[in-house]
Structure formats: structure tokens, C-alpha cells
Amino acid sequence: MANIMIVDDSKFMRELLKKFLVGKHEIVGEAENGLEATEKYEGLKPDIVLMDIVMPHMDGITAVRHIISAHADAKIIMCTSVGQDEKIKAAIDAGAKGYITKPFQGPNVLKEVESLL
């Protein structure tokens, strides 16, 4: 069981991801944007972060850079929409360890999380 932080500006998406993960992993925190995620990461030190890319205030790629600069071993999975190939590449270059693409399915989310444990 991993301690997971979910970062997405959409409350609906955070709840949907929680629905997929509940009972198998522990959701230790949530953030609505990259800035909040970088602040909460320090206190929560989650095993895995599920990070949206397109968010207000600070996007997911910038947040990955901030977190990885302080915690090189951070395990961050990007949550993307179709047609974001360039952004996925930028996120991986920034240090993200994996990605899942919408439309999300429970088994795919679990598989990606468990591949990093």
C-alpha cells in the first residue's frame, strides 16, 4: 500500500482517482495546483504523486521541476489528456517517472502506481 497525493484542479477528477485507489492505497493529501503541491509535498512526503499537467497558478511540469530539485527520488506520475505528447516529454525530462492518459480506467491507474512500488 502506497501513500499517494493527488494533484488536480478538478475536484471531480480528484474524487474519480480516489474512487479508483480507495482500499488499495492511502490518499494522504490533495492539492489543486502545482504551487500547493510543492508546499504540501514537504510535509506529506508521499510515496507517489499523481499530477495533472494543465492547472492554474503553477502547472504540473513546473511543479515536477520544483519537487525533483529538492527530492530527486520523488515518484511522480503525470495525468494527461490526449494530444499532450510534447508536455509528457517535458514532464519526463523534468523527472516524472510515468504517465497515464485520459480516459483513465481504474486498472490502468493501479497498474501505473504499482509499477513504481
Partner: protein, 212 residues
């Protein structure tokens, strides 16, 4: 409108049909629902006349989700639906995730608003991806914004937030069939002036090749 422009509008309709297929596929996979989506017509309308063309009373409050896009094309995508349709689709999408405390005065709860924005996200990313691939352009989308207002105000806010100045919009009359519910909505693509020109220039006379 010239014959050439009518032919190009037909190509835009073809791209929209492909986008509709993708939207239905995404929603079926993500929510495990039986979803079908069709686009009955595409029209190029002046921005000022959008309220007249949308099948909702001009003085009615509607629900809208708008998303700015930028890159080689700039503008916004606005999804507009009636309050009843918004409540119907959010109830389906939220199955098991509804908020317990409901403000009786609120049109939609925070979770319902969020589900409408996610629906707008799915619709916009499907449209943008098909357009980007078909026209060989790079387009990025911004986070969605929710609005419940008169349609004219939603359009005005969408355009001012994106600093877009366009005279015309593509209006797609859409119907989504989710389980036993018919959800009518309009998808409005509002490119700025330069982007509208790029769109028409990039559609070849023989039609675009839509990558699967």
C-alpha cells in the same frame, strides 16, 4: 459564403464527427457508460448572433464551460447546455460521488460544476486534438472555467479572458445519449481572426486527412 467555403465547412463538420466519436469513446471508457454522440449541424455564425442560434431562450440562464486554447491557433471552446441538461449529465457522471450537503439556493453544487468542467475538458481536448492533427498545427489548452449566466455574457467573458477578437464562431449542434438520457448542448469554437484564416487556409481543397 462561397462554394469553396461551404466545402470547407463540410470538412469541419467531418472533423467534428470524428471528435464526437472520440468524446463518446472517452466517456464510455472513463465512466463505464453507454455513450453515443452526434453532431446534427455545423454553422458559421457571427458572434453577436450566437444567442439567437442557440436553441435556448436568450434571456435564460444557461450553464457553460469555456476553455482557452493557444499555440498556432488561438481562441476558446465554449460548451453550453441548459441547467436541466447540466443537472442530468452531472448526476450520471457523479454516480456515488455526490456531495451530501446541498445548498438549496445553488444551481449546481461544487462537484456538479466540477463534473461539467471535466465534460468541457473532454470535449475540448477531443476537438483540439482532431483539429491539430488534421491541420498540422500545435494547439495547447488552458484549464476550464465554469459559468452560469446568460449565453451572451458567457461568450463575452470567454472572449475577454482570452483577449480573442473574432467576428465568427463555429457552432456545432450536439446531442449526447448517455444511458437513457438525451443531453442537448452546443459546442462553440471561437477562433480569433488570424486563427479563423489559418483554419480555412489549411483545409485543402480535397479535404483533410483525419488521423485515427
Amino acid at each position: 459564403m462561397s462554394l469553396n467555403e461551404i466545402e470547407k465547412l463540410k470538412e469541419i463538420n467531418r472533423m467534428a464527427t470524428r471528435s464526437a466519436d472520440r468524446i463518446a469513446e472517452s466517456m464510455s471508457v472513463m465512466f463505464g457508460l453507454d455513450v453515443a454522440m452526434s453532431i446534427s449541424s455545423v454553422n458559421m455564425v457571427s458572434v453577436a448572433n450566437i444567442p439567437k442560434f442557440v436553441g435556448i431562450m436568450e434571456d435564460s440562464t444557461v450553464v457553460g464551460s469555456f476553455i482557452a486554447f493557444n499555440g498556432n491557433l488561438n481562441g476558446s471552446v465554449v460548451c453550453v447546455l441548459s441547467i436541466k441538461c447540466a443537472r442530468d449529465i452531472s448526476k450520471i457522471l457523479l454516480a456515488g460521488m455526490e456531495e451530501e450537503d446541498r445548498d438549496p439556493l445553488a444551481v449546481l453544487t461544487e462537484m456538479e460544476q466540477s463534473s461539467i468542467m471535466e465534460l468541457g475538458n473532454i470535449i475540448t481536448s477531443s476537438f483540439i486534438d482532431v483539429w491539430a492533427n488534421s491541420l498540422s498545427v500545435v494547439v495547447n489548452q488552458e484549464p476550464p472555467v465554469f459559468s452560469c449566466d446568460y449565453i451572451s455574457n458567457i461568450i463575452e467573458t470567454s472572449m475577454s479572458r482570452n483577449s480573442a477578437e473574432g467576428d465568427f464562431a463555429f457552432m456545432f449542434d450536439s446531442l449526447m445519449q448517455v444511458t437513457n438520457h438525451d443531453i442537448d448542448f452546443e459546442v462553440l469554437v471561437l477562433p480569433d481572426l488570424d486563427s479563423m484564416q489559418i483554419i480555412f487556409d489549411k483545409i485543402p481543397a480535397g479535404g483533410v486527412i483525419i488521423n485515427e
